[in-house]
């Protein structure tokens, strides 16, 4: 059996988390290559539909990383994203996706170590959980 390599989509805010990830690269910090980064102008732009689509198209996990509270470049985009992801993570278990597969967190432009830590943790967690199956009838991971 080949080793399971999870596919994790990370939506990173251009102003902080993406800069943080960039800095992690600049400092040559090691983090798993399973993280596929999508740069967005603000996490407020991340429609819940993007997350659902990512899961449907084969992602095993989704990360949404935004600015710290009060630091949003557009005043409150990160707060909206937090509320959306909070509600979404309550709904996902009903579709048979355990809520740990969706992560929302906050990483600022300087916190390259935090980005490294979150990316590593998420990859380890998802590797333990195994691949996401939503084929056939949807209830495959009995979380409810």
């Amino acid at each position: 059996m080949t080793e399971f390599k999870p596919k994790i989509i990370a939506f990173l805010c251009s102003w902080c988390s993406y800069a943080g990830a960039d800095k992690a690269g600049g400092q040559k910090l090691r983090y798993p290559a399973n993280i596929l980064v999508v740069r967005v102008m603000c996490t407020g732009r991340v429609d819940p539909r993007f997350v659902l689509k990512a899961f449907r198209e084969g992602a095993d996990g989704v990360m949404v990383l935004g600015c710290h509270t009060g630091d949003c470049h557009y005043r409150n985009g990160n707060m909206k994203a937090m509320k959306r992801m909070r509600l979404l993570s309550r709904m996902l278990p009903q579709f048979g996706i355990v809520k740990e597969r969706l992560m929302f967190n906050r990483v600022s432009g300087g916190e390259s170590e935090l980005f490294q830590k979150l990316a590593t943790e998420m990859t380890e967690n998802i590797t333990l959980m195994g691949p996401l199956k939503i084929e056939g009838f949807v209830k495959t991971e009995g979380a409810l």
Partner: protein
């Protein structure tokens, strides 16, 4: 010239769509004058064999209610597809799966367990559940096989037009039938209602404040609702922002919030859209405060996808696996 032939068929639906055809009141008499019904199991006695004996494309318009949940329904709609010029997915069940498609959150085994075994009001000592093949008095009996997943109509056959609503409103039905029978055919795949959000035509749209904030989420029976105020502004969940226009908001007029029966706008996922809308108006600055408010939605999937689970991003099979 012979009259156009019309067939009406129901699948996994409640029968309300058949009833809605009668709800167009005196217009039904005009309709019965203008067309020949060749199949309408709910109202008239026709046999499937008569339909099978027809020429291909002989039926002009077929109105199909309900999603596809068993092999019998699949067989009949496939037969009707061969015999019909136009197939209309009539009502939200045929278009999006409707209320019955909430079964897609579970599976066949779970639903049988609830309905035939564990339900407190059921007495079933033999632990019998529906089976496709069974033996009775030495004869083998055959029933349609129930699927694990409820499919929307266009998962199974090619659909020409969609008429949303649970059930479609009389004005919409008259409009749509007039258009289709009059030969003024819209492009294939048209959803026969305006592609805008219900809020845009809602009579309460003007009462929205500049910045709407929901400090808690209440259910409609927990408050005395103001008959003129936007429901979201009264802390009641209303699916208007994520729902298609065209029904003429009878629920809002009756002082009840929208539950989303008209389905999503084009290329949208109704639940994702509603979560997106709520994210912008829910109050609270930290996770705990937001969680307290969100506790007011005990069943998010059932609330946001009440009529569209089978057509949602996660609630159906992926296209490539069909």
């Amino acid at each position: 010239m012979s009259k156009p032939k019309v067939a009406v068929i129901w699948n996994a639906s409640c029968g309300g769509c058949d009833e809605s055809l009668v709800d167009i009141e005196d217009k039904i008499i005009d309709l019965a004058d203008k067309v020949d019904f060749v199949l309408w199991p709910c109202a008239m006695d026709f046999k499937y064999n008569d339909v099978a004996a027809m020429k291909d494309g002989e039926i002009d318009i077929t109105l199909v209610n309900g999603g596809i949940q068993n092999s019998g329904q699949e067989k009949i709609v496939k037969l009707l597809r061969e015999k019909s010029k136009i197939i209309v997915a009539y009502g939200s069940c045929a278009w999006l799966g409707g209320v019955p498609s909430l079964i897609n959150l579970k599976n066949k085994k779970d639903s049988f367990a609830v309905n035939y075994l564990d339900c407190p009001s059921v007495i079933n000592p033999g632990k019998k559940v529906p089976m496709a093949k069974s033996m009775a008095d030495g004869y083998e009996l055959e029933l349609p096989e129930i699927f694990d997943t409820l499919y929307t109509l266009d998962d199974v056959i090619d659909v020409d037009y969609y008429l949303p609503g649970c059930p479609p409103m009389p004005a919409m039905i008259i409009n749509a039938l007039g258009e289709l029978l009059g030969g003024k055919l819209p492009p294939k795949g048209t959803i026969l209602s305006p592609d805008i959000s219900l809020c845009l035509s809602c009579s309460r749209n003007g009462t929205k404040p500049d910045r709407m904030v929901m400090g808690e989420i209440q259910r409609i029976h927990e408050i005395i609702a103001d008959p003129d105020q936007c429901f979201l502004n009264q802390d009641v969940l209303c699916m208007g922002p994520a729902t298609r226009d065209g029904c003429g908001y009878p629920c809002i007029t009756g002082n009840m919030p929208c539950t989303g029966c008209m389905g999503p706008m084009k290329n949208q996922d109704q639940g994702a859209k509603m979560i997106s809308a709520l994210g912008g108006i829910i109050d609270g600055y930290d996770e705990e405060a937001v969680d307290r408010i969100l506790d007011g939605i005990p069943d998010p999937a059932g609330t946001f996808y009440r009529y569209s689970t089978a057509a949602s991003y996660l609630g159906r099979r992926r296209e490539k696996n069909r």
